[in-house]
């Protein structure tokens, strides 16, 4: 309110033509929030919900063989969804080599928070 810069007290003012002060409510100093950040991230498209990773090893088919994957799941990295206190996480990935498909599952240790790393 106190105009510290360019104090124009000496300037002649004309009654009725003074510059009105800004309304108080416009001085709330709130950061402009992006509405996008308030929303949840977009849902995973439904066709990505069917990787080959959840197929248990069956006795009939030869071990290590799975049904053919859908093209849409190729080259997508999947992370196993388990409860938090897990020391191992499984990463899964299906890719194509020539005309055959390979699904690789890699088990990786999860570094615990606060533990010293080697």
């Amino acid at each position: 309110m106190n105009n510290q810069y360019g104090n124009k007290q000496d300037e002649a003012t004309v009654m009725g033509f003074e510059v009105p002060r800004s309304p108080d409510s416009s001085y709330n100093n709130v950061y402009p929030g992006s509405e996008d950040e308030a929303r949840d991230p977009p849902v995973v498209p439904p066709h990505l919900h069917h990787p080959l990773l959840s197929y248990p090893a069956s006795r009939e088919t030869p071990p290590g063989s799975l049904p053919l994957p859908q093209n849409v799941i190729l080259n997508h990295l999947y992370i196993e969804n388990r409860e938090t206190p897990r020391s191992v996480v499984a990463l899964g990935f299906t890719h194509r080599f020539r005309s055959k498909y390979v699904t690789v599952v890699l088990y990786k240790p999860v570094p615990r928070r606060g533990s010293s790393s080697n």
Binding site: R59, P63, G64, P67, K100, V102, T103, L106, K108
Partner: protein, 430 residues
């Protein structure tokens, strides 16, 4: 192709084909055509090809479809020339096909980070029902080794060994890489003269020939060779495609020669006459000289302890031991890969190796969701000494079957063992 004489509208060509399964098609006036009067097969992308199965012409042609000729009651002794012909054909087949053919249409490979604790690793092997897993090192960006049942056996024995440096708690955090380092150190101390443990992972590429892969497996005395592909020259960013085993290669051989078994005369021979495998007693003489057994046949009584079994597996350097009763009749078989059953309910923490009998240890694995080693719900796969080689090969081509116990009909007395590597050494002549 050239026109036939006297009939200018018919074309002929003579091609030399090896015995086996072939697909063919005609290119007529700019268009691919197949002969509708011949048997045909529909492949990928709706491509239809005609099928020709060539057989070796034989004088005794008992034509009952594509079956093998009738088994002879008294097998004629096979000539060296016949063995050579069979070996040559198999060698040619293996040299002209690549490891890519071993890959299933949609396959799965389970790998482990080399910094996983050993305990976790064996739980994973047990849960997933796999006998071995390749090891990945994130820092190096490479596959650096394989974790197998033998590692677990050595760890357990070290734990049971009172001079062990590893306590139970340390086992929780002991990583695979630390274990492998220690193992290499230990082996260098003990084996002054014997084979050195490989420092680099033994692997093959998808374009290597099946013959190279088989020889690599036999020479390195491993069971599994990972097939790794890298699209760059320096081998960076490797992709693991498959874990190749002798049984996969054998399956390729059986599939190819299934319809032309007469082209491999040695396959009709009973196994005792060609002396494949390891036998308890000498059956026949070799070249008129009685051959000496290289080492005694490893067998265990069913009351033996698990500790005895593990020690024998390591010392005799075999992958399985038949378990017999007092009459040497087969009761069960204990293989290296059965060790992962101890991961169930952390049994390894509670047992003492010398107090648990082998049969009890096997009981642990029965209830588990174990697909490995089972075929038709059977653990022990047997054969007779009179079985022809092709029958043994077909059994061994099943995944999970790595050896057959040769038993006497009726009494199930153990006479010997024939394994995948025995068969391959014989077929490749190494």
């Amino acid at each position: 192709m050239s026109p036939m004489e006297g009939c200018p509208t018919v074309f002929q060509v003579i091609c030399s084909l090896s015995p086996g399964y072939h697909q063919y098609k005609f290119y007529v006036d700019g268009e691919w055509r197949y002969d509708e009067h011949q048997p045909c097969v529909r492949g990928n992308y709706d491509v239809v090809n005609s099928v020709l199965i060539t057989r070796e012409p034989s004088s005794m042609d008992i034509d009952d479809g594509f079956n093998h000729p009738q088994e002879m009651v008294t097998p004629a002794s096979i000539s060296v020339a016949d063995i050579d012909v069979s070996r040559h054909r198999i060698s040619t087949f293996l040299s002209t096909h690549t490891a890519y053919e071993l890959l299933p249409e949609s396959g799965k490979v389970i790998a482990l980070d080399v910094n996983l604790p050993v305990k976790q690793a064996f739980h994973i092997l047990h849960e997933q029902g796999i006998p071995v897993a390749p090891l990945w090192d994130f820092c190096k960006g490479q596959f650096v080794g394989i974790l197998s049942a033998l590692d677990f056996i050595l760890i357990l024995r070290e734990l049971g060994n009172h001079g062990s440096n590893l306590t139970e708690e340390e086992l929780e955090t002991h990583t695979i890489s630390a274990w492998k380092e220690g193992k290499m150190h230990l082996s260098r101390q003990m084996d002054g003269n014997a084979r050195s443990y490989p420092r680099h992972l033994i692997h093959a590429g998808p374009y290597d020939s099946l013959k190279d892969v088989a020889i690599k497996i036999l020479q390195s005395k491993v069971a599994t060779v990972p097939i790794i592909h890298s699209s760059s020259q320096d081998g960076s960013f490797p992709q693991i495609l498959h874990l190749a085993t002798l049984s996969g290669i054998l399956k390729c051989i059986c599939r190819n020669f299934k319809h032309s078994s007469s082209s491999l005369p040695v396959l009709q021979q009973p196994i005792y006459s060609i002396r494949v495998g390891t036998w308890v007693q000498e059956i026949a003489e070799v070249n008129g000289q009685p051959s000496t057994m290289k080492r005694p046949f490893a067998m265990l009584n069913k009351n033996a302890s698990l500790g005895d079994a593990l020690s024998l597996l390591v010392q005799a350097e075999v992958s399985s031991i038949p378990i017999v009763d007092e009459n040497y009749s087969l009761v069960d078989i204990y293989s290296r890969s059965d060790i992962t059953a101890l991961a169930k309910d952390k049994a390894y923490a509670q047992i003492h190796l010398d107090q648990l009998s082998i049969l009890q240890a096997l009981q642990l694995g029965q209830d588990a969701n174990h697909t490995y080693g089972f075929l038709n719900g059977q653990r022990c796969h047997m054969c007779l000494r009179s079985d022809p080689l092709h029958k043994v090969m077909e059994q061994l081509a099943n995944p999970g079957v790595r050896r057959l116990v040769i038993v006497e009909a009726g009494s199930k007395r153990v006479e010997g063992i024939i394994s995948l590597s025995d068969v391959f050494r014989f077929l490749l002549g190494v």
